[in-house]
Symmetry: C2
Subunit: 350 residues, 2 copies
């Protein structure tokens, strides 16, 4: 009855989402601070419109986002932007637009495990390129392959937090024989981003989300920046009304509040430095992070054991283990009190 | 660069969604009355949770919906329910779970044109069975075909508003060599529904939406009822967080308010009878409707001309033309004032 590709799948396992509020939740890279207060106002104002279908093109958001992005890059107009129900929806749309059954996608590992799920659902083959030990990418990532249709690159990457420079990504895109989706879920926390590459190479697409830097993981709102002729094809694959009226209103208000974003990002970056310093002080090997989380390993104590001990004491971090690669802990940057709690507990464990 | 299936597509064209409020909008089957007031309360209460990811399983909604549906059918538990970002998302998930490239889907015409779009995106072939002139389905709809993987049946159908009896649908499902998706977007306005068939046949799935009868088109919330082992496979294909925190809260509050639903459905049905009577009085052929719209043709006046004349005067209805079948107008049941306005205008045109 089912497609064999689907029956074979294990399915994507999202990080634990306990519904209680007592847990110190440092496992899914949520922002520790509440979203801009303008979001609540915009949501309340949009409720009376729920009787009607939403704008299928999320025009209000695209206009505001185009203004904001144009200040960071060359001029971007709304026809360079596609909105999605979270950037997972964007990744799904991109995959379905470029990759047919039996064709090939490429991505690096360890990285966002959704790329594997999307390939499996599409019935595509996967070329999985291990990161070098310094988190650089070897020549296999750009090697020719006739069946290759799409490459995904999380930048900054998760779980490492490492960010390739735009010049490196440009070189990768130029060598790749297929389109490149640069997944910039964490770019607002980084020193650089790849927005400028979209203009010079029609095969580069950059996805963003409001889940992390705008503190709106519950809203499900992401967007893609690509050349207009690419956006046009992708628009055929998205559900017509993929963004609801409340999320469009909320996302528009959020991206409009760049003062809030700047202050929030500065706080998270300061927390990141403090967290990295504290973990190094406890003997962890800490990968320098450009995101709102850090990837750590410890030379002596088992990572799964640390994860479980923390969980028992009400602190959730992400334990991740990659075949033929190794394991470690990915720890979200919390607020100051959460960082203190975590460091104190770890201090008793290592 | 793109899949040829996508480049060839025209893409689904949603009904016009003018952003102004002065238009009498009877073209996309929105409910003329505002949603339950409990929706606004639930949304406001959910805003502070937006920092965190939503419940990937929309458990609160599924628990409440299971209670409500169990009063209309045999006992249904939450594991029989899958939630989606509108029932379009449900249709997408179902299609991707059952249908591979080069396999076949079947649906009747005229019906919801999204079925064609979903088949095209999936690279599937389409068997399109014309309705008989009395809107019954001939034997072709259940004919054997080895490559057939999924059949869609809108019931009540759009644009006709005709609803096949559960016994007829059960017979179709038994004869079909593949799963059957019964798209019940309009079932709350009908005298019967097919919920009971899900228990007796694992290949029957019933989709619902809150867009129409709950007056929440802007919210994007739909759900599927199917046997748990089917829900399990479908769950691998959906985006992990396909429903956002605000829509889960709003949908849960909406389905909890069955008193509101009953009153609303009664008002819409009363409006439907009045609209049908008025249109018949003007010489239209009116198909008896079980939905919140009516399908009409006129023996003398061109339907496209009527559509344009109404639009010029600020009333939007849906003009639909089907190849080798014919055309007509699909008119949403508005409130009393909207029905009066429409009938008065049409009275001057025919």
């Amino acid at each position: 009855m089912f497609r064999p590709e689907i029956e074979r799948m294990r399915g994507y396992q999202p990080g634990e989402q306990p519904r209680g509020t007592k847990v110190v939740k440092l496992n899914t890279n949520e922002n520790p601070y509440p979203a801009s207060p303008k979001v609540a106002e915009a949501v309340a104002a949009a409720v009376p419109s729920l009787r009607r279908y939403p704008d299928p093109h999320a025009t209000a958001f695209r206009m505001r986002a185009a203004d904001v992005l144009s200040q960071q890059s060359d001029a971007i107009t709304p026809d360079w932007i596609l909105c999605g129900n979270g950037s997972d929806d964007i990744l799904t749309i991109v995959t379905r637009t470029f990759v047919g059954e039996g064709q090939v996608v490429r991505y690096a590992t360890p990285s966002y495990v959704l790329y594997q799920t999307l390939a499996e659902i599409q019935g595509a083959a996967q070329e999985i390129v291990p990161y070098e030990s310094d988190w650089s990418l070897g020549f296999e990532f750009t090697a020719p392959d006739e069946r290759l249709r799409l490459a995904y690159l999380a930048n900054p990457n998760s779980p490492s937090g490492v960010c390739l420079a735009p010049g490196e990504v440009a070189a990768i895109a130029d060598m790749l024989p297929c389109p490149l989706l640069v997944d910039e879920a964490y770019a607002d926390f980084a020193d650089t981003n790849c927005l400028d590459l979209v203009r010079s190479n029609e095969r580069v697409m950059v996805s963003r989300t409001l889940s992390k830097s705008y503190a709106l993981a519950g809203l499900r709102f992401g967007y893609l920046v690509a050349q207009p002729q690419v956006i046009e094809q992708l628009g055929k694959v998205k559900d017509s009304y993929n963004c609801d009226a409340l999320s469009i209103a909320a996302a528009t208000a959020a991206i409009d509040d760049q003062a809030w974003l700047e202050e929030n990002v500065n706080r998270v970056r300061a927390g990141r430095e403090r967290l990295m310093g504290g973990l190094e002080g406890l003997g962890f090997a800490v990968t320098p992070s450009q995101a709102n989380f850090v990837w750590v390993t410890h030379p002596r104590v088992g990572h799964d054991q640390l994860y479980l001990s923390l969980k028992e004491r009400g602190v959730l971090v992400r334990y991740l283990s990659y075949p033929n690669w190794g394991d470690g802990l990915r720890i979200t940057v919390g607020d100051d009190a959460q960082i203190d709690t975590l460091l104190a507990m770890l201090g008793e464990m290592v």
